[in-house]
């Protein structure tokens, strides 16, 4: 089971670090990161293995959203199945 974590907002020092630390705390294993900065606008898509989460997926979504709020970023965490359903036949 995997989760897709999208992070967008104004660029700053330590965004990847903050998100990664929280993933580690929650037991999510990061397996792919795609990240770019365009005109000071930070955008990242992170894919994490969530089979060993130490909490419910719902709580993980909340934890990531809190990090986003604290850092002025938009963080959305979604289960991979929605992407698989929509984009694979």
């Amino acid at each position: 089971m995997k989760a897709v974590i999208s992070v967008t907002g104004k660029d700053g020092v330590g965004i990847v670090a903050k998100v990664s630390v929280k993933c580690a705390e929650c037991g999510a294993n990061i397996i792919d990161i795609s990240q770019t900065v365009l005109d000071e606008y930070f955008a990242m898509i992170m894919i994490a293995d969530i089979s060993a989460l130490n909490m419910t997926f719902g709580d993980f979504v909340d934890h990531m959203a809190v990090i986003g709020k604290e850092s002025g970023l938009q963080i959305h965490t979604m289960h991979e199945d929605i992407f698989n359903s929509m984009h694979k036949i």
Partner: protein
């Protein structure tokens, strides 16, 4: 990216955050057959207990799924067996008690609407159905979340004009009884031809006679996604446009199927159908009218609107049907006036009239939906509008419906605001010429020739 491409991920996120992609409703259908009792109090208790135990977790499950997939699930609803079928010897007062019981159960479990205060009277009226119809104005006035519907016609049975007359009177009375709230009672009552028995959308949802004990039906949405895709496509042919709509409908429906499967598992209730409907809301960017305008119409309602809608409706079905294991309900584009920002504007600028809306209903799902007309419109004229709409459904072997609001004390030039998803309805003019003698004939319009298929 290891699972799907980065562009696919961005597309999905963009659809949800900027194009109003959502799942419109998870609706649990519940059979009330085993609640039947000859004692009205016991019947009400049975109904209350069954709904509050079967659907106890529907709201929480809906919220959990929305969080898991990051996609809003706007409504959680319940539909029940048409109440006229389980009322037994109930009289009109008893039916109002049942209505209040359904409303109380809806409030207890925290759902948005409960549907099924309904009767199936396409061929004739049983005593119970007649009592239920008579109770509708009071029942909908004294409840908050209850929705009611009548099936007054079918291709197989023809049109029950006596039932249409009773419905017209009920609509007029409802408008008066709820006059303090812009006649909002009428927004919770719909008159059908060929009503689907697994429809998850309100106000017409009920749990049909051949349905299982309990079932999960899901209604998708997403007009904003289709409108945006058409805009991005620019100047291409209609063939290419049809393909673009199909692809979007596939993606939208896939989300519905995923949610339906998940909800069915979590609630331990069998999955019924996904309803492939483009359901608009009054929000900007969530309009079916804007899809038609993006296809090349200056305003929804102008010449070409029916053709554009026919193509849209067909492409939505072709794309959607591939994405779901079981498709049902209404499945097509909805064109409710008050619930669609583009439709409201089209009426206000004089581009969209009742006659054009009627033509549009011949090629899309449902019918004359959420249309406000002058408060002094006669019962007979209301019946005439309904009968026209129903005839389109009967002859074309499709579902049609009418949800009309003769807004008390209002006239053309006014508008009525219902708030929330029900939106704002400009009062639309009706013909000043009478159809009273036709309506007063009463009786039954026989089924069309092509109903004899055996």
């Amino acid at each position: 990216m290891s699972i799907v491409t980065r562009n696919d991920i961005l597309e999905t996120i963009h659809m949800i955050q900027h194009e109003n992609l959502d799942v419109r409703t998870i609706t649990m259908g519940i059979s009330l057959y085993d609640c039947v009792s000859d004692d009205i109090e016991r019947l009400c208790n049975n109904i209350y207990d069954k709904i509050t135990s079967k659907a106890e977790n529907i709201v929480k499950v809906g919220e959990d799924i929305a969080k898991k997939y990051g996609v809003p699930i706007v409504n959680k609803r319940v539909s029940v067996t048409p109440v006229a079928l389980i009322g037994g010897k109930a009289n009109s007062d008893d039916y109002v008690k049942i209505a209040k019981t359904l409303d109380r159960a809806a409030k207890e479990i925290g759902i948005n609407f409960i549907g099924g205060y309904s009767a199936l009277v396409q061929k004739g009226m049983s005593r119970g159905s007649e009592a239920l119809i008579q109770s509708i104005p009071q029942a909908l006035t004294e409840t908050d979340f209850l929705c009611s519907s009548l099936n007054v016609a079918s291709t197989k049975a023809g049109i029950n004009m006596d039932a249409i007359y009773m419905a017209g009177k009920a609509i007029k009375e409802l408008a008066y009884l709820t006059r303090d709230k812009n006649s909002i009672g009428c927004a919770k009552f719909v008159v059908f031809a060929n009503a689907p028995e697994d429809n998850p959308f309100m106000a017409g949802a009920f749990h049909g006679m051949g349905e299982p004990e309990c079932v999960i039906n899901v209604g998708v949405s997403g007009p904003g996604v289709v409108a945006a895709a058409i805009k991005r496509a620019g100047n291409c042919s209609l063939n290419e446009l049809a393909n673009i709509i199909k692809k979007m409908a596939y993606k939208i429906t896939s989300v519905g199927q995923l949610v339906a499967t998940e909800a069915s598992k979590a609630l331990d209730v069998p999955f019924g159908i996904v309803d492939l409907s483009l359901a608009p809301t009054p929000a900007i960017g969530d309009s079916v009218a804007r899809i038609l305008e993006n296809m090349g119409l200056e305003r929804c309602g102008t010449h070409g609107t029916t053709a554009a809608l026919a193509m849209l409706n067909d492409a939505v079905k072709k794309g959607g049907v591939m994405a779901s294991s079981s498709v049902g309900g209404l499945s097509g584009a909805f064109i409710p006036v008050s619930e669609d920002e583009g439709m409201i504007e089209a009426v206000n600028v004089g581009a969209l009239h009742l006659n054009k809306l009627e033509a549009m209903t011949a090629v899309c799902s449902v019918g004359l939906d959420m249309i406000a007309i002058p408060g002094d419109t006669s019962v007979e004229t209301i019946c005439g509008i309904i009968a026209d709409e129903i005839a389109i459904g009967v002859v074309n072997t499709k579902t049609t419906a009418a949800r009309l609001i003769p807004a008390y004390g209002k006239n053309v030039g006014d508008s009525v605001d219902f708030g929330g998803l029900l939106g704002t309805a400009p009062i639309m003019p009706v013909s000043p010429f009478s159809c009273a003698d036709f309506i007063h004939r009463g009786g039954h319009v026989p089924a069309p020739m092509h109903s004899l298929k055996n």
